[in-house]
């Protein structure tokens, strides 16, 4: 839930006013941390992404020209997603489940004995790329074109990662999400 942030505070933040920048931070820290935490493996990485995101926001908000409702939110989220993806690439997380093809694993697993993980745990078991795509597409509402651009991949890659993620979640959660 976004805290109230009026236009005056945004205009002051654009001029570098630290109190106004803090208001922006307070309004968006939860949104940014949640997004970062869903993409990054660890809470520590997500905290670092939170900090890097707001350093970038503070440096660049003066050049932000969006006027549409929600454009500031969309911009800040995009900065956060970009920072989180950079962090994931930098950390070179092991794509453990890429070593074996997920659809094959799902095909071998009897749906009736699917692991009854809870949704958060299941998300955490996905590869970084699959988790990022499913979160950005299904929760944040990014199009496959947006995701492809953000991740430096193709649209078909984004689509295949989304299908793979859902196949795995279905297998781990059973038909009904826990």
């Amino acid at each position: 839930m976004l805290a109230a942030l009026d236009d005056l505070a945004i205009q002051r933040a654009k001029t570098g006013d630290l109190e106004a920048l803090e208001q922006v931070y307070r309004a968006y820290e939860g949104v940014v941390y949640t997004l970062a935490r869903r993409i990054c493996r660890t809470a520590e990485d997500a905290e670092d992404v939170l900090q890097e995101t707001f350093l970038e926001v503070c440096r660049s908000i003066g050049r932000f020209r969006g006027t549409e409702p929600g454009s500031l939110t969309a911009w800040i989220k995009r900065v956060a997603a970009s920072k989180a993806l950079m962090r994931v690439r930098r950390e070179k997380y092991r794509e453990a489940d890429d070593l074996s093809d997920g659809d094959e694993v799902l095909g071998r697993r009897d749906p009736d004995v699917a692991l009854q993980l809870d949704l958060e745990e299941a998300l955490g078991r996905l590869s970084d790329r699959s988790r990022t795509v499913v979160w950005l597409h299904d929760v944040e509402g990014y199009t496959h074109e947006d995701i492809a651009e953000l991740m430096g991949m193709t649209v078909s890659f984004s689509k295949s990662q989304l299908a793979r993620a859902h196949s795995r979640l279905r297998g781990w959660l059973g038909r009904e999400p826990v």
């Binding site: 839930m1 002051r12 001029t15 570098g16 006013d17 630290l18 920048l21 803090e22 931070y25 307070r26 820290e29 939860g30 949104v31 941390y33 949640t34 935490r37 809470a43 997500a46 905290e47 939170l50 900090q51 707001f54 350093l55 503070c58 440096r59 949704l119 958060e120 998300l123 499913v134 979160w135 299904d138 929760v139 689509k159 295949s160 989304l162 299908a163 793979r164 859902h166 196949s167 979640l169 279905r170 959660l173 038909r175 009904e176 999400p177």
Partner: protein, 196 residues
């Protein structure tokens, strides 16, 4: 048609499904169940609670911003202060010599210029421009003046080490005082035009 694949189901959910897949979904209870499950999973993902960062991070962000601003200002003023201090030491020596030489009127002028420059820097520091708001044109003017002061400071440093004449030093310090004066005025009045 065989049962829908996950790609088919996602495409249908996102309004991009083929007619064939749509027809199959209407006829196949198993695929409709999977389709419903996909919807429920999406809804469950959206319903996951928002997370709060476990630790306060604003203080670190703020400290880094303030540090960057200080570094930027120091880039302009550190040279100035350093040169001013060096010149002041020179002025003390000159002051002693003043008693002995009629030519020392210029030494007094030099000392006056150095002190004036220092006073202007102090006034600017007291005004604390980093905590204030400038419009874009004023900010651009400030940046240009600061760049010109940096060039003068470089000239002063070279003049000091190269044994420049008193007249050359006086001219550099005059220019510096003039620029500092303009810098203070543009900060205080936020005027975009200062005769640059």
């Amino acid at each position: 048609m065989m049962h829908c694949t996950m790609d088919d189901l996602i495409a249908l959910r996102d309004g991009e499904g083929s007619r064939e897949a749509q027809r199959h979904l209407a006829e196949c209870a198993a695929c409709r169940a999977e389709f419903e499950s996909l919807h429920q999973r999406g809804a469950a993902l959206k319903a996951l609670p928002a997370l709060r960062p476990p630790r306060e991070r604003w203080s670190a962000v703020r400290a880094e911003i303030e540090g960057a601003r200080r570094r930027r200002r120091r880039g302009v003023f550190a040279w100035g202060s350093l040169v001013a201090a060096a010149a002041a030491v020179g002025v003390i020596g000159v002051q002693a010599a003043r008693l002995r030489s009629a030519a020392d009127a210029s030494a007094a002028d030099l000392r006056a210029l150095v002190e004036q420059s220092q006073r202007l820097e102090e006034a600017l520091r007291a005004y604390d421009p980093t905590s204030r708001v400038l419009n874009g044109r004023a900010a651009s003017a400030v940046a240009e003046i600061e760049d010109r002061i940096a060039v003068i400071d470089l000239g002063l440093a070279e003049a000091q080490s190269g044994g420049a004449s008193r007249a050359e030093l006086l001219e550099l310090w005059r220019q510096r005082v003039q620029l500092m004066d303009e810098l203070v005025r543009v900060h205080v009045t936020r005027a975009a035009y200062v005769g640059l």
